[in-house]
Subunit: 617 residues, 2 copies
């Protein structure tokens, strides 16, 4: 099977053209020398978690941020790395494929070879399975040539497996040692980067010489935090989805008789749905985060849609487009509780056929109320992260049927006097995931690949490659590396009966911030989107001309550049130290002391863990 990996493929004219595109590098990575500046040691966003995390990661917790700078940059205590011995680097695709993944490998190869042509880069075949089994292919420019700027993970393939059990960790370690790897680069989302952090810790504890580096690549857009502005693939996924949603909107507007219910991939968080809504202006979008916060149940949502259908009918409009993120199913309280019961019974070994007879009375009543197709889908075993199999659960179809029943009821009762409600359901899943990557994702992934090399050259372990200031053009991007542990949080899942409570520090998928600017923007437009059909078509992905360099709202609207702001704070502290040198006037010292006392007090209060030990996320 593995003999097929890395084979040259027949490329279309456009694919060929795309292979010829050379992503830019930001100024700090151009040339052969890079200066590394270290920031302060890192902590975590939730002060109450820091001791749990530091306990779990004694070797790798608290490491400093690293900034990669131009060699000419005047920073006193930065380290210029001039020695570039031959190194051996392994790379593995973990988790689900995401457009742009191949460019991480290309960027890495480019950096590895340009610093020492004798260095070797090995790709693990078939994801973590290849890692455990030590199945590798040497990555060369020749092999890469038809994969540059292309979608998919098919150069190496991937599995969905994790590196978690001690058996798996040991196999990974054995592979790194047998292959004499100086570095192992793990490409993936929150789960894979959590695994990368654990692997780095184990390697450090057991004196394995391989350094582990993570790269944020996931189409869900949920590997996002103060250090990571967006992940590779999200931009492409949103653009391709928006193209298709816009097509559907135009179709709705032309035919004027259908309501489209479109389910979007994106796992538990609704980032993809938010971005697509802002790009293409459908009539409605439900966010898992919003539904969970408002505790809307199935009937609330049905009523909301039905009322919208009715309001539009009163304006003579019998068409519409509604976006449903796949994760919605777990944010509707009663459905989540039902799923938890089912998964609990499954983990106790109750077989599929008899599950419904073991449910609690209320869950059983709900289960029987659901149409047969969705009952069957609810009985599917959960994913490895305990979530439901979102891609298999047709929540959009369930909602369409419920709204249909409600509209028929209103029609019979005479409260709805419009034409018949016609729903059509679509699932936009796998057809976007394999897309050619957008220019942004090509550039971003390529730069991240380069950074991975510099992380290894600096001898860092357990770091994630990061680029900030992404909303600006490439020459303004700032490159750095962050200890993965600094992005971790500890959440306690209550879980259903039978579920194992999880207290481990992990990278949690970041939810849509309901207090953020992106959400606000969506809410401000919600009514006009609903009623006025302001459909907008960003069109198919381009590499030239208008629309090429448009970046996602999700990336551009929020305040970003946390790393830049951290650096700015350091500058302030340095300046104070510089002004208040021994010998300065007592007035200046007094002013400094009084100001700093008040600043310190405020920050201490803000940083103290709350007494009940819970945090809101």
């Amino acid at each position: 099977m593995e003999s097929d990996y890395g084979l040259a493929r027949e490329l279309s004219a456009l694919q060929k053209k795309r292979t010829q595109y050379q992503p830019e590098l930001p100024p700090c990575l151009q040339g052969t020398t890079v200066r590394v500046e270290y920031g302060d040691g890192t902590t975590t966003v939730d002060p109450s978690s820091s001791h749990v995390i530091s306990h779990a990661f004694p070797c790798t917790y608290g490491q400093p941020l690293a900034h990669f700078l131009r060699p000419s940059t005047k920073v006193s205590d930065a380290q210029i790395i001039t020695d570039h011995p031959v190194i051996r680097v392994g790379v593995v695709f973990c988790g689900r494929q995401s457009p742009g993944g191949h460019n991480v490998i290309w960027g890495l190869l480019n950096a590895v070879k340009s610093h020492n042509p004798g260095s070797i880069m090995l790709g693990f075949l078939g994801g973590t399975e290849g890692l455990f089994a030590q199945k590798t292919m040497e990555i060369t420019y020749d092999i890469l040539s038809s994969f540059k700027n292309q979608g998919g993970f098919d150069l190496l393939g991937r599995t969905q497996d994790q590196i978690r059990t001690s058996e798996q960790v040991n196999a990974a370690k054995a592979a790194c040692e047998a292959l004499k790897l100086n570095g192992l680069v793990i490409i993936g989302g929150v789960t894979s980067n959590t695994d990368a952090a654990h692997l780095a810790e184990t390697f450090a504890e057991t004196n394995c010489q391989t350094k582990v580096v993570g790269v944020p690549v996931t189409l869900n857009g949920d590997l996002r935090n103060q250090f990571v502005e967006t992940d590779v693939g999200f931009d492409t996924i949103c653009r391709v989805n928006s193209q298709l949603i816009s097509n559907i909107c135009l179709d709705a507007l032309s035919a004027e008789k259908y309501y489209y219910f479109i389910r979007l991939m994106g796992h538990k968080a609704s980032h993809v749905a938010v971005e697509c809504a802002l790009q293409s202006h459908p009539n409605m979008v439900f966010l898992a985060e919003e539904v969970a916060m408002s505790k809307f149940n199935l009937f609330d949502i049905t009523k909301q849609i039905s009322d919208a259908v009715q309001a539009r009918a009163e304006q003579g409009k019998y068409h519409g487009v509604i976006l449903i993120p796949e994760g919605l199913v777990e944010s509707i309280p009663e459905l989540f509780a039902l799923l938890q019961e089912i998964h609990g019974l499954q983990s106790q070994g109750v077989d599929m056929e008899s599950i419904s007879s073991h449910l609690s009375p209320w869950a059983s009543a709900l289960f029987e109320f659901l149409p047969p197709f969705i009952r069957k889908q609810f009985l599917l075993p959960p994913e490895s992260d305990n979530s439901a199999q979102f891609s298999e659960i047709e929540i959009e179809k369930l909602l369409a049927q419920l709204v249909d029943a409600e509209m028929n009821k209103r029609m019979k009762e005479g409260t709805y006097k419009g034409k018949k409600f016609n729903p059509i359901c679509h699932f936009f899943g796998y057809q976007t995931r394999g897309s050619l990557p957008s220019k942004f994702d090509c550039d971003y992934a390529y730069v991240l690949g380069h950074i991975c090399y510099h992380i290894l050259a600096a001898g860092l372990n357990g770091y994630m490659a990061t680029v900030t200031n992404l909303k600006h053009s490439v020459e303004k991007w700032r490159c750095g590396a962050t200890p993965i542990t600094a992005m971790m949080t500890v959440k306690q899942y209550s879980g259903g009966p039978g579920a194992i409570p999880i207290r481990k520090p992990v990278l949690h998928p970041t939810q849509v911030d309901l207090k953020g600017k992106v959400y606000e923007m969506l809410r401000q437009n919600a009514y006009s989107f609903l009623m006025d059909d302001l459909y907008r078509n960003p069109g198919p992905l381009q590499f030239e001309g208008p629309g090429t360099d448009v970046k996602s709202y999700t990336l551009c609207v929020e305040d970003q550049d946390y790393m830049g702001r951290i650096k700015k704070l350091q500058n302030y502290l340095d300046k104070v130290r510089c002004i208040v040198k021994p010998g300065c006037s007592p007035e200046i010292l007094k002013a400094a002391l009084s100001s700093m006392a008040s600043v310190t007090e405020v920050l201490t209060v803000m940083s103290t863990p709350k007494s009940n030990g819970h945090i809101l996320l």
Copy 2:
């Protein structure tokens, strides 16, 4: 409701850029004068039908072909149209929306206004309903500005209604007379153009002064015959579908564990499936035409797919992509017969709930064998053309389930030893129909719009605008007009019990030619597509760079330019007449007579209707 039509919309950067694209015109339509050359009177492809058609269309059958030429072209008996009085033209979108439709209107407006700025163009709002109700909007450059080169039919909207009953025909006539229209342009597919022909005949018979013109616009690709090389929208639909299919292929190749069953729109014919398969090289494609010819039943198809899955598993491959045209459901003999029975019972007024108890024993057995979801879909009432509601019948899901059951059976029996078969189903329908049109469809539709004007200026009635030589660049395109009756055939449907047999001359959807070059190309590659994963990604729609001017295989591979070849024949006949003028040598006359006698004899035999009166189509 109609107040929303033609409103300016918020356009994205790319949409704006597209509105600025100015399609080219072929040389014959540049400038202000156009020369019209008439060919011989037309007949139909099936000699046995010609008397039925001529009987149904006494006024409009047998009219000559028209060719539009540059004024400088040296054709002795061509007519130069120099008089361009003020005219009033109505235009209506009929049937399903198809990318490029708006450009027909733009081209027409451009031709109308450039020949006489005083002329008026009216668009009917909401399709045929607007026509019957005389709801119009004057089409101006201002209103058109945000619809140029855009997808959808939303400038005017559309309905699915036909112009068929005498009530509808009379309403259309009343509208044309009340609005003093010189011409009515009907934009649509086979059904709408059939209606256009009937309307033209009625208008001619009843001395209505409005001339009726048809334009071939349908995404199914089935309005295709010796005069019409392709229809507007087909190119875009195939490109957008191919982009998505390719994305799925890459996803399959990256994850290596899913079989994707993708249902494609395209109605009864499988043109879209053929073209997409040639563009993106999925592992398998089923054609409705092939299945119908081979009389494959559900089990044959299940076995074919299962065998393919098994053969791939033996090579370590557990992924694949299979294209299923929506029309397949009616080409599987037993499913078609079952649908016929159901539709027959429905037309007798048997209600949904009791249909299954009225079925014949064999049909009832089959019906009960089918999974509940598809039973429900089979009970939907048929479309206005008596076909099943293809877009609602999840035939891909049925096949996936049957293959799943078969693979499980083989696994239990020990004949299949591979990993579990994992199918995922997708329907690529409405998300492609509203796409921005391809450059080809923009150009083609715009030129067709121009031709409509010249047809009206020449005073022709019951014609369709045609462009031939389309596989070459625009400057080589040949523009003409063909009597719609010359494209008609008469087919006798046997129908199921209760179905009304149809003997009327109509434009039938053209099937994929199983003796044609396109099909041959597909078959030649079938095995390597199946086994070798030669996936290819034509990429997202571009207006610049590689891939922009690539035309469909369906258009380029077959011998086309029937109109050109008809003209060539006329040249030969003219030459013979010229050489064998009275006074020529007896030897020449003898040679001519003998040669022409043999040619005439061969052609007479070939053109004589077969004795049983049936034709194979």
